[in-house]
Assembly symmetry: C2
Homo-oligomer: 199 residues x 2
């Protein structure tokens, strides 16, 4: 298998993190913003939705969308619960991540770190994203006050998915994690998993 | 089971559509914007992420996120493929819907139709959403030129999910579907499914 992965992107990182925790290796093609490799991958039709990550399977099938890749690689592993309701709850957090969390937490980090996004980083937009993001992090903290993992009693794909952009929310996105002790303890739990790798 | 459903929302509609196609009925609680029922459902903690739809199971468990509800209700039905790769591809389209499509196609419709969103409906924003949305619809049309359904040889949760906001993109969101004959034929195929209901 081959993973088209953007080194700076949390969406790509979550797949690399799952692979590391599973002790699996795949061919890795780095497609960073502005790189010739990214242009080539797009031109050759390797990125079906125009975005990384994309997992290329042995038969050449291209699987897009970071969370769909997590689902595919996670089947039959300890990160995908056996219980049907828990499966739906795991996916619920992953849909929430793509619909609510990523468009705020990841986007503010992108505006602050990617030179090609700088023109969009107006003070008004940064302030609005900061306020929204602190609210989203509060929701996660509220949920984690009474439990170790987002769903059930074990680390699942939901935790790995949400960890990706949350663990760098403060350093990359300027969010303040101080008010969220349960969230910070959860970040520490994920970071302590055997095989964990950083961004 | 009980569904907290917002009548005007495509996210709620997609769940109602699946239920209708499966010939299933559940208790329906309408939580329209501005209604007392919505306020009450929020105050009573019935909407975990603050949004509809939410499916309340027999044991009181609250399942949020429209696409997670589709996944839960779709297990073991003809709308969830048996093939593992096709399952991941179905979820891929559903994640794409929440991350790319909904934030453009549904948001433009919301800006044009909900009075409480009107202040955000600036000409610049509407123009940007129109341009993005036509591009997203083009991607769907390109994909559907050579196939009847988004994944595999049968209608799946991916089709029902994407149908919800796409079928009203022109009437509610002001998008032009004329350039997309494959997309329009696909909309007609979903509308012709036995048991289909409108928004």
């Amino acid at each position: 298998m081959r993973l088209y992965s953007m080194p700076s992107s949390g969406n790509s990182y979550k797949v690399r993190l799952l692979l590391a925790l599973l002790g699996r290796t795949v061919d890795m093609v780095d497609v960073e913003y502005g790189s010739d490799t990214l242009t080539r991958a797009k031109d050759e039709g390797r990125l079906p939705f125009g975005k990384a990550p994309v997992l290329e399977l042995e038969d050449g099938t291209l699987l897009a969308e970071s969370n769909a890749i997590l689902f595919h690689l996670g089947q039959g592993t300890r990160f995908w619960p056996k219980d049907a309701l828990q499966q739906a709850q795991v996916l619920g957090w992953m849909f929430w991540e793509q619909n609510q969390h990523e468009g705020v937490i990841a986007v503010r980090a992108a505006l602050l770190t990617y030179p090609h996004r700088k023109a969009q980083a107006t003070p008004e937009r940064l302030a609005a994203l900061l306020a929204s993001g602190q609210g989203l992090l509060q929701m996660m903290d509220d949920h984690l006050v009474s439990r170790d993992w987002l769903v059930g009693e074990a680390c699942s794909l939901a935790d790995l998915c949400l960890y990706a952009y949350t663990h760098s929310a403060q350093t990359h996105g300027g969010f303040d994690l101080t008010p969220f002790p349960a969230l910070r303890a959860w970040l520490d739990r994920v970071a302590a998993l055997p095989g964990h790798v950083g961004l």
